[in-house]
């Protein structure tokens, strides 16, 4: 066991042992351990195999960013072993292996690297046949690509979303973030501080710092009720207007902050040399995290590569953890020795300056680091910590509009944000020392507070940093390669150089051609090195090259947390329970549930037929509550409808009902309905179920433009509609107590009355889709069940049947009535429907008027007509079957169905305009390709004179 005693291991609870397995072998760890730390504690350093060459890989950063340490959980591919806590019985396996992690058959790929130069797949796998890629090569590559395996039987997990509002959001609870959050909260702002780690402190929690710094900040923080701390919560993106997703576990906090302070720290960068990917080579901060967070000794015998003070601190930490530090290698030229160096020397650590790690070698199969070569000589070791510099965590700042630059004087990557509600603090703003970071937090808080309108004391600007350039380790391609720039994608220095030779010289092209930065770590550990290599190879500056666009998310996030839980919207008419009680087959139509027919599915066809016959011979009842119902009020109501619809409404008498047809500005038919003029200044207008939302919005829009004295109210939910239809409809209504005279003379076709039926206030219109005597009763929805019951009871002696949508569709087809959206498309004109009668010739204006006149001049090409198929015909074309003329499609069947009244199939179809006449025969191509002929019918199939609806 590589475990260290307390106080090392701040995250683990040694009293709680947890057993889990990795690659089928049992392991044990403590509560609080991550998968990677528990495995490391047990000496298991190899966590995965690399993407292309299948090289053993292990801990690099302990931040969970890299593909190196992604593992497979039973229901979760690509889980970050460095961040995912272990749990009892958890089964963990390695990814991207062929065979076992120890013995990966694909490890041979490492030998064949030279057969696979960068972008090789663009230049081969094309033959021998044209489909060889699809049939042969791609399946192989697809199997080799990909990392984890998705569990298609994964159990459902609950995710949820909530909203969070604050004055100031501080991202990152390191010293700068803590200081900023405290300063903002102490000034009275409402502050949220989030950090992806389970504890606050950032580097203070694992670095070599005086513990009193963290405890001091921590106690100030706890005293602030207006400062909410969300640990274990990652801020995974920045979006317009400071809208930020904070993800904590299975919860997404959609957060709106007035001001944002990004204290996201810096990302320590790996060094590039041959075999720099061996398990046992890790960033200095990774070693520190293992020691302080998990109490894991990262090795026995270490070489420390240190180009700045943090390397020295790492070395001291390693000594404290009982690791033998063989040598500290400082590539900087010899200069004055600082106190840390003196301390190290005092502890007997050999320090070599002006040299660097040139290459590394592994144990058999490269399973672990065995030795490194420094200044030409080999040093045996099982741990190499790398502390050669870092890059500011640019992801969030860049999403917030920040620009990345490169300061040639200090050799540092810089970030500049435009003036606005986002501020930087700490290492991301290039502060170096602890005191600077804390001061920079205070300054960011002051800037945010002043934007919020707080009066704040202006803190003096940061003392200019020493202009001493940082040491930058040169990147030289190793002649034998395996000097990895991008661990995720197995890319070496020469791969990037070669891409530039092929002309991929812009950074985005380099990225696309080589895939650098496209893996799980999204360039965290490769972007800076890539910029350097491309700059060098193309003779430009690093600033000119830049880095690729930082897109959200900052780190990988599950689709589950983004999706959350979402009930599907459903709408029900007030009569839903009545339908269900009558055993209706309910189906969704848009968001609505509607009865299709009443009865068991086993006898659906029979039920539909009986419902149709009931309407044709007796009386039926249809719930039409889903129809749009709009009330137009005001002195200009008639004028308003005149402009919106094709018919004349301003002169429509009170008490009359008129068809209304709506066009768009292009002159295409977009909706229809009826308008019942209830009073001089009041119309009750119906719209089709699917279109009402748009029609209502359009009405409001036109009214906003026209500014007529009109109000539009959407009563779709407030009112319900019942259509009583059939030859016996009048008898049913007359059997009900009412103040309305339903007689033919008092209540003729296309008129309306309001009154009371069975104690229910109603608006009744004599209209009908079925072609039968019909009364459409509209009433306040809370009374619809009562009205339904009354009609059902009154209808019983007359054989009244409720009928559903299926019967309704056939009934209307028998009458040749169109359904908007089914029998019309985006370019249908009234002329194509033969609806000239519905278009006023007198009105000076209505929406679409100018366009249909122009389109009429340009010439009509098609017409919607009826088609009738012989009784007993063998092959009936389905909906959408093509109408051909000289072999070319000129139209299609829009509706087709079997008419029990006519005992044959009938259809509506677009035909060539020359075939629009009665008796013209057209050719239709059936689904099976067979051509059939059918005669054109230009009138209603059933009751051609439309006598029945007017009885």
């Amino acid at each position: 066991m590589n475990r260290l005693p307390a106080p090392f291991g701040s995250r683990i609870a040694r009293s709680r042992r947890i057993r889990f397995s990795f690659e089928g072998k049992p392991f044990e760890g403590y509560e609080g351990d991550s998968i990677a730390s528990a495995l490391a504690a047990s000496g298991q350093w190899v966590l995965s195999r690399s993407f292309k060459y299948h090289r053993p890989r292990g801990i690099l950063s302990m931040t969970g960013a890299d593909a190196n340490a992604l593992v497979q959980l039973p229901s979760e591919p690509n889980a970050a072993a460095e961040r995912t806590p272990i749990s009892e019985g958890l089964r963990v396996s390695a990814q991207n292996i062929n065979g076992s992690l120890e013995r990966d058959r694909d490890a041979i790929m490492d030998r064949f690297g030279r057969f696979m130069p960068v972008g090789f797949y663009y230049r081969t796998f094309m033959g021998p046949r044209r489909d060889s890629w699809l049939k042969f090569w791609e399946p192989i590559i697809r199997r080799k690509a990909g990392l984890g395996v998705v569990d298609t039987k994964a159990p459902h997990r609950h995710f949820d979303k909530t909203h969070l509002h604050c004055d100031v959001l501080v991202v990152g609870a390191g010293p700068a973030g803590l200081s900023a959050a405290i300063a903002a909260a102490e000034a009275g702002a409402d502050v949220v501080l989030c950090d992806e780690n389970p504890e606050i402190g950032g580097a203070l929690s694992y670095g070599r710092y005086d513990p009193s710094v963290l405890s001091g900040l921590s106690s100030r923080l706890e005293a602030l009720p207006n400062l909410r701390v969300l640990t274990g919560t990652v801020c995974n993106g920045w979006y317009e207007d400071n809208w930020l997703p904070l993800i904590g576990g299975d919860r997404l906090h959609r957060t709106r902050a007035r001001e944002v302070i990004l204290a996201t720290g810096a990302i320590e960068q790996p060094a590039v040399f041959r075999n720099n990917d061996l398990p046992g080579i890790m960033l200095g901060s990774a070693a520190q995290r293992l020691i302080r967070h998990y109490g894991v000794r990262p090795g026995d015998s270490a070489v420390v590569l240190a180009a700045h003070d943090d390397g020295c601190r790492t070395a001291l930490d390693l000594l404290d953890a009982g690791v033998s530090v063989v040598e500290l290698v400082d590539p900087r030229p010899a200069g004055e020795a600082g106190p840390l160096e003196a301390e190290l020397r005092g502890k007997g650590v050999a320090i070599r300056k002006g040299v660097t790690v040139e290459t590394a070698e592994g144990t058999a199969g490269n399973r672990h680091l065995a030795r490194v070569r420094v200044g030409g000589s080999w040093i045996a070791c099982d741990l190499l910590t790398v502390s050669i510099g870092s890059a500011p965590a640019w992801q969030l700042p860049c999403q917030a509009g920040g620009k990345v630059g490169y300061d040639a004087a200090t050799q540092m990557m810089t970030i500049t944000l435009p003036q606005g509600p986002v501020h930087l603090a700490g290492a991301v703003a290039a502060t170096d020392e602890l005191e600077d970071a804390i001061a920079s937090g205070r300054r960011a808080a002051a800037a945010a507070l002043s934007q919020l309108g707080h009066a704040v004391a202006v803190e003096p600007p940061a003392t200019p940093k020493s202009a001493r350039p940082r040491y930058v380790q040169p990147i030289v391609a190793d002649p034998k390669g395996r000097d990895f720039v991008d661990f995720d994608e197995d890319l070496q220095v020469k791969d990037l150089q070669n891409a530039t030779k092929d002309g991929y010289r812009e950074i985005e092209l380099v990225k696309r051609f080589t895939t650098v930065g496209m893996g799980p770590s999204q360039g965290r550990h490769s972007a800076l090195a890539t910029a350097r290599i491309v700059a060098e190879a193309t003779g430009r500056t690093i600033g000119d090259i830049g880095i690729t666009t930082a897109r959200p998310p900052v780190g990988p996030e599950t689709l589950g947390v983004l999706a959350g839980h979402h009930e599907t919207l459903e709408r029900r008419t007030a009569l839903q329970a009545r339908h269900v009680a009558l055993n209706a087959a309910m189906k969704p139509v848009g968001a609505w549930w509607r009865p299709y027919y009443y009865g068991d599915s086993s006898s659906a066809d029979e039920a539909v037929r009986e419902e149709i016959l009931a309407v044709r011979e007796g009386v039926g009842l249809l719930d039409v509550s889903t129809l749009g119902k709009l009330e137009i009020r005001g002195p200009d109501a008639g004028e308003f409808l005149d402009r919106l619809y094709t018919m004349a409404h301003a002169n429509q008498p009170v008490g009359r009902v008129r068809y209304c047809l709506m066009l768009n500005e292009m002159g295409s038919v977009i909706d229809d309905g009826v308008a019942y003029r209830m009073a001089q200044d009041q119309f009750y207008v119906t719209a089709t179920t699917g279109a009402v939302a748009r029609v209502y919005a359009d009405m409001l829009f036109w009214n906003a433009e026209w500014r007529l004295k009109v109000d539009v109210l959407n009563l779709t939910g407030a009112f319900s509609g019942l259509n009583v239809t059939g030859p016996k409809a009048r008898r049913v209504l007359e059997a009900l107590e009412s103040d309305i005279d339903f007689s033919r003379d008092a209540f003729p076709y296309l008129s309306g009355h309001d009154g009371t039926v069975a104690g229910v206030p109603v608006r009744v219109m004599r209209i009908g889709f079925t072609g039968e005597l019909s009364y459409e009763l509209h009433c306040p929805s809370s009374l619809a069940p009562a009205l339904w019951d009354a009609v059902m009871a009154a209808g019983k002696p007359h054989g009244l049947r409720p009928y559903g949508l299926e019967a309704s569709r056939v009934l209307r087809l028998e009458k040749g009535h169109i359904l908007i959206g089914q029998d019309t498309d985006a370019i249908t004109t009234p002329d194509e429907l033969g609806f000239g009668w519905a278009v006023s010739k007198k009105k000076p204006f209505f929406v679409g008027k100018r366009s249909i006149e122009m389109r009429a001049r340009l010439g009509q090409t098609r017409k919607l007509v009826g088609l009738q198929f012989p009784a007993g015909a063998r092959n009936i074309p389905g909906e959408s079957c093509l109408v051909l003329r000289n072999g070319a499609p000129v139209g299609q069947i829009t509706s087709v169905g079997y008419s029990p009244s006519l005992e044959r199939h009938i259809a509506l179809a677009y035909v060539h305009v020359d075939n629009q006449w009665e008796g013209s025969r057209v050719t239709v191509k059936c689904r099976n390709g067979e051509l059939v002929e059918a005669p054109v019918i230009t009138h209603a199939f059933f009751d051609p004179t439309n006598a029945r609806q007017e009885i």
């Binding site: 959609r254 709106r256 292009m666 919005a697 829009f701 433009e705 500014r707 100018r850 122009m854």
Partner: protein, 88 residues
Amino acid sequence: MKLLTCPMNGPRNIDEFQSFGPVRARPDPNATADGDWSRHLFRAENRKGIVVEWWRHVPSNYFFLAERDLVSNEIIRTFDASELRDHP
């Protein structure tokens, strides 16, 4: 989520709103030649720059106007339609 400030309801997430596009000229249909009319129908204000457009706050069904930069997405101001009418 972008914020849009409704003159009646205040700043709201933009998913509470429906865009009705840039304010369009309304040429007299009866005094416009066919070619000009069809160009009017299908043309769309799409210049890189600031447009004045109609928006609907859906929960309150309030229509208003916004000046928005089509490149930066910055909303310069929002105002009631009466302002445009009174000071065209």
